[in-house]
């Protein structure tokens, strides 16, 4: 299945030296090792462009190795990890360190995203040039959005020098205040301080305006409201270089998932109203959104066991995303399988300038194998991630990751359970 060439056929893939050597029929040559994946769908390796791996500094939540293991178990051959580590990834040495840790783990490709501003303090922009040279694929102050519009403008202007996308977690912290979930009927009902939808869409609209006057590449992280999606749609129609991602949880759940103060439903942006969810489904179908990204944000169990208001924002997503997309979006008919592969592979790779996203000869032999018929139950105890907090525990989903190949090597197989 290659959505870029409208390829959807029963074929052979031949790998050599970590790359796809050929795509076609009866490609086996004497001496080749032949792996029969009859009945499975081979897709270009999935890429999660929004994860938090917590290393260096917060290894008790996640390490690069545990995160990379979770990635391949979830069908992702590549991830891009956010800069809010300790120290913040605002220097080439931290960027290089993360890449080195990923190489040692030898599982998924881990592409660091560097901080937009030094120390993520929102004041002075980081060394985009050196950071890119060290391996950064984008810049973002994810989690601590750039508040000052003048700083944001400078970051966007300067990013053009190296054509780095600026990824922005769009939130107006003053409007969020002490909010813990989406403002609305459910928050009013159970008595939790609300985060208004405007906290997000005002920042989305501001940043799009700044992208327009600077001509820079702006990527909006985790769209969650109807009005944000509409703003991105308008920007694209106007020919701007604006892209966007949506998380599986915002596509599947609403604010009602908070239930009885369930911290597994506490994340930013918060789960929204059903009208927002519907608008996001439209956005992934009509091309307004370019990627599905998980915002995998592992926390220690003790932290997520606190009362709702004290518990940190964030849930894990790497090991639940693909079955959710297959069952809740593809089987349900919201999007086609080809569109899902685009959102999980081609789209994010294009934004970050990564190879792959298609099955053409010469591209990396990074493959996600899907079993569309297999059913599995989400069991946080089986996660490779150190984070366990997910609102999807116990959910039975049809459509599973059968195996994950990176550089022509199988790094995960569902049957082998490794």
């Amino acid at each position: 299945m290659d959505p870029t060439g409208d390829l959807d056929a029963v074929m052979d893939l031949r790998f050599a030296e970590g790359r796809i050597a050929a795509v076609g029929e009866d490609l086996a040559e004497p001496g080749d090792r032949v792996v029969d994946v009859d009945g499975l769908v081979a897709a270009p390796g999935f890429c999660d462009m929004h994860v938090h791996f917590r290393e260096p500094g917060l290894e008790y939540k996640e390490t690069v190795a545990s995160g990379a293991a979770a990635a391949v178990a979830g069908g992702f051959t590549a991830v891009a990890c956010m800069a809010n580590t300790d120290p913040v990834n605002d220097s080439p040495s931290v960027t290089a360190h993360i890449r080195q840790l990923a190489e040692q783990a030898g599982l998924a490709h881990v592409h660091p995203i560097a901080a937009t501003t030094q120390g993520m303090a929102g004041e002075r922009i980081s060394e985009f040039g050196s950071l890119k040279e060290a391996g950064a694929v984008a810049v973002s102050d994810d989690g601590l959005p750039v508040g000052d519009p003048a700083v944001m403008r400078k970051a966007l202007e300067y990013s053009r020098l190296h054509d780095l996308p600026v990824i922005e977690h769009c939130e107006t912290l003053e409007l969020t205040g002490e909010g813990a979930m989406r403002e609305g009927a459910y928050a009013a009902w159970i008595g939790l301080p609300g985060i208004p939808a405007a906290s997000e869409f005002i920042a989305v609209e501001r940043n799009i305006a700044l992208a327009e006057i600077t001509g820079a590449r702006l990527h909006i992280a985790h769209l969650s409201t109807e009005r944000s999606a509409a703003a991105v749609r308008r920007a694209k129609a106007a020919g701007m270089r604006v892209t966007a991602e949506v998380t599986p949880h915002h596509l599947v759940l609403t604010e009602e998932a908070v239930g009885d103060y369930d911290t597994a439903a506490k994340m930013k942006p918060p789960l929204a109203a059903d009208a927002d969810r519907e608008a996001l489904l439209t956005a992934i179908a009509d091309g307004t959104a370019d990627a599905i990204a998980t915002d995998h944000a592992p926390h220690h169990e003790d932290e997520k066991k606190l009362c709702f208001q004290s518990a940190p924002f964030g849930i894990v997503g790497l090991e639940t995303a693909v079955p959710l997309v297959l069952d809740r979006l593809v089987t349900s008919g919201a999007i086609s399988l080809a569109r899902a592969v685009r959102l999980l592979s081609t789209g994010p790779r294009r934004i970050l300038g990564l190879p792959g996203g298609h099955l053409r000869p010469g591209s990396p032999a990074d493959i996600t194998l899907l079993d569309l018929e297999a059913t599995g139950t989400i069991d946080p105890e089986s996660f490779r991630s150190r984070g366990r907090s997910t609102p999807f525990a116990g959910l039975s989903l049809k459509g599973q990751v059968a195996a994950t190949w990176v550089g022509g090597r199988e790094v995960y197989s569902r049957n082998a359970g490794r």
Binding site: A187, A188, W189, I190, G191, D260, Y261, D302, L306, S310
Partner: protein, 310 residues
């Protein structure tokens, strides 16, 4: 009733059952020895994570009049680690095998966490964050019924900080569940969207909200709301929302309730607070009886009484 985590989760029958039982306990106060042997040998732990003088005193008195062993557990909580302290406190408490835990917390949902963490205990919510204060709502409903003879069909107006008020949330649930018609009014900055889900009608102007009311519930305005610019000044609040004699005259000779402590000259005038229609001190009196009824009802479904009763 295993726990009382909120009015949410309570059936109308359970709520009415408590209101019907409360007069029995009110009589206890007038006995020569105001004590009945309902909870002999049981511990009632008052876990107050947030300072509260009145509610804690009311619960303690209720427990003592039922012959329970009241225990105060008031951990020092630093603002940095309050959540962690709460979990550790819950575990510490669990090790002591308490019977009934009365919990007050600044965090919405804390009683739910406690009920999950201490499977052996029975939890009574004495106020959690901006979520619920169920015994306050029960004593308010009891007071309304005592003075007006009924709850169904009564026109109640609730005035004040609807955004941050657990008293409002529990009362809105309970009163509408029992058939009252609840209107509410407050500064637009303190009225969250989505209140219709609670079954109440939110009105912009106080005069309209008071028209024909039979009971007016005035909520306490917290000083810190001014710092966060929800209201400009206390003086301005009194001008716009303070319950004065003139405003009370628009009602249908309504009784006046307030959960206390009062901010005279802010949300209510002294004329009204001390006036003939004020039932504020009666609320306090009723509070002890209603809390006794809640404790007794909870104790009936305790694992311990099932063991004893065979």
């Amino acid at each position: 009733m295993r726990h009382l985590l909120g009015i949410r989760g309570l059936t109308p029958e359970e709520a009415l059952g408590i209101l019907d039982e409360a007069p029995r306990y009110q009589d206890v106060a007038d006995q020569p020895v105001p004590r009945v042997p309902v909870l002999v040998g049981r511990t009632v732990t008052h876990l107050f994570m947030e300072p509260s003088t009145r509610t804690q005193a009311s619960f303690q008195l209720a427990a003592k009049r039922l012959s329970a062993e009241p225990l105060s557990f008031v951990p020092k909580s630093s603002s940095l680690t309050k959540g962690e302290t709460f979990l550790d406190t819950a575990r510490t408490l669990a090790s002591m095998a308490p019977d009934i835990v009365v919990v007050r917390s600044a965090e919405s949902g804390a009683p739910h966490v406690l009920a999950r963490e201490i499977p052996t205990a029975q939890v009574i919510n004495a106020g959690d964050g901006i979520s619920e204060h169920p015994t306050q709502a029960l004593l308010d409903a009891f007071t309304i019924r005592k003075h007006l003879g009924r709850i169904a069909g009564v026109r109640v107006t609730i005035i004040g900080d609807l955004l941050h008020s657990r008293v409002f949330r529990s009362n809105a649930r309970l009163l509408t569940m029992l058939g009252a018609e609840v209107r509410c009014c407050g500064p637009p900055t303190l009225v969250p969207p989505g209140l219709d889900r609670l079954g109440v009608r939110s009105l912009l102007h106080l005069e309209e909200a008071l028209e024909g009311a039979e009971a007016v519930m005035v909520l306490r305005i917290q000083h810190e709301r001014m710092h966060a610019s929800f209201i400009p000044t206390e003086r301005e609040y009194y001008r716009e929302f303070g319950l004065t004699g003139e405003r009370l005259a628009r009602t249908d000779n309504a009784i006046v309730l307030h959960p206390g402590p009062l901010n005279r000259g802010v949300e209510i005038s002294s004329e009204v607070a001390d006036g003939p229609r004020s039932v504020i001190l009666d609320q306090v009196r009723n509070g002890v009886a209603v809390r006794m009824a809640v404790l007794a009802e909870i104790a009936r479904s305790s694992p311990r009484s099932q063991r004893t009763d065979g």
